[in-house]
């Protein structure tokens, strides 16, 4: 009990110091940042990158290097989870005497209706990432959760996890190559292929293609993670 009491006191100290620190931040913040936003990002962001959604502009252009490694984390985690979950014994997939998984019929019917809708919504989010909220990562996650519904409709489904992972790796290589195409047109890595002077509509082509590739990569990665969890040890 003393342990709980001491930790609460320690955390209270942290909270008090943070409260003091917050007052400094509020003073500093408006001077440093607001001017930069008004002068730099708001007027120039759309023209420079071709994306109305400035979050996508940052993810896919200004800080594409981060996003590549963000996708890389997913890639690593997929391979790691699959490596940890699989075993060396060839005879697997044991049938249990009573496996209690029975999805309710209502849920199956409902899922059959929702599944195409979710898939469409996912694609919409991916493709329109530069105009409206969304983008490759979010859309990919939505597509992945749509695919996961399939497992509830039909859980004897056989998934070739090796194929998914291989396609995912190839997509990642393709993303890396596509993102570095700008070395030929602009002389630098990881930015838009088209020069900043090109019209935003032309620049948007690059964003859409990159979003689609990232979206598929993320969807495949999450699908593979989920399959690995379902098949763990079986």
């Amino acid at each position: 009990m003393t342990k709980h009491f001491i930790i609460i006191i320690l955390l209270g100290v942290l909270l008090a110091v943070f409260t003091v620190a917050m007052q400094d931040i509020e003073v500093l913040y408006n001077t440093a940042l607001k001017s930069y936003l008004i002068e730099g990002v708001i007027p120039r962001g759309f023209v420079e990158t071709g994306s109305r959604n400035l979050v996508t502009a940052i993810l896919l252009d200004y800080r594409l290097f981060d996003s590549l490694f963000e996708a890389g984390i997913l890639l690593i985690a997929v391979s790691g989870i699959i490596w940890i979950s699989k075993h060396d014994i060839e005879e697997k997939n044991a049938q249990f005497m009573y496996d209690k998984y029975k999805t309710p019929d209502l849920f199956v019917t409902f899922s059959r209706l929702v599944y195409p809708l979710m898939l469409t919504f996912g694609f919409y989010v991916i493709v329109n990432g530069h105009l409206s909220p969304g983008g490759g990562f979010q859309g990919g996650a939505i597509v992945a959760s749509a695919i996961l519904i399939l497992y509830y409709i039909d859980h004897d489904k056989e998934t070739n996890i090796g194929l998914i992972v291989t396609v995912e790796k190839f997509l990642y290589i393709a993303i890396l190559l596509f993102a570095s195409l700008s070395i030929f047109t602009r002389g630098t890595y990881f930015t838009n292929v088209f020069p900043p002077t090109a019209s935003p509509d032309v620049q948007a082509i690059y964003l859409v293609i990159l979003n689609i590739m990232i979206g598929f990569k993320v969807a495949l990665g999450l699908w593979a993670i989920f399959t690995a969890f379902l098949k763990e040890g079986r």
């Binding site: 979050v55 014994i89 005879e91 249990f96 005497m97 979010q138 959760s145 993670i225 969890f229």
Partner: protein, 193 residues
């Protein structure tokens, strides 16, 4: 306090709700309830992201934080409730008279009920056909917790499992009352390198 708008009021209410949910998650003991709590926690944070004018983050949070992650939690918690037994003996130890009334079944059922586990028994032909030498490998690498074999000469049933598992030691102490049941514990093979 006069110019507090509706949105700000909602934001405060949601933040207080968030704190309550966080405390509930930290304090609560039942993992099944916590999954529901964490899903609602994730939804509340998503709405707070929208109030903070970050729809992109909100979509990401809803898609990942409240759809895929809770599903993974569900799987991993349900895996922690099951106790998988591979029945290689295949006689009346488990099933007698086409019903689960064998001696071994009653013992195992009593054991799993005591520790809130779900008993899963398999006699899958492919796994049973593996030789006795690979029993340890099977225990270590797949999620089989217990293997039942029969020694024909002494007519005793041998339950094999990992020594490192707490559950097996508890089963060992429970099985001491039975004469014809022997529990074998595999030592952890230290590969060293």
């Amino acid at each position: 306090m006069l110019n507090v708008t509706m949105i700000e009021l909602t934001a405060y209410a949601l933040q207080v709700l968030l704190i309550i949910l966080a405390i509930a998650i930290v304090v609560h003991r039942n993992n099944g309830t916590i999954i529901i709590l964490i899903t609602s926690f994730s939804l509340v944070t998503a709405s707070l992201y929208i109030i903070n004018k970050a729809p992109d983050v909100a979509i990401a949070e809803v898609a990942i934080g409240s759809a895929i992650i809770p599903l993974i939690y569900v799987i991993s918690i349900s895996r922690q409730r099951e106790f998988i037994v591979l029945d290689k003996a295949m006689d009346d130890f488990i099933i007698s008279d086409n019903q689960f009334t064998g001696v071994g079944y009653i013992l195992l059922k009593r054991f799993t009920d005591l520790y809130h586990l779900e008993l899963n028994i398999t006699n899958d032909a492919r796994l049973c056909s593996l030789g006795a030498g690979r029993d340890q490998l099977l225990c270590e690498q797949t999620n089989v917790d217990l293997i039942i074999t029969k020694d024909e000469e002494t007519n005793t049933y041998i339950l094999k499992g990992k020594k490192s598992s707490v559950l097996l030691q508890k089963l060992d102490s429970m099985a001491k009352d039975y004469d014809n049941i022997e529990v074998v514990q595999f030592k952890d093979r230290d590969f060293g390198d």
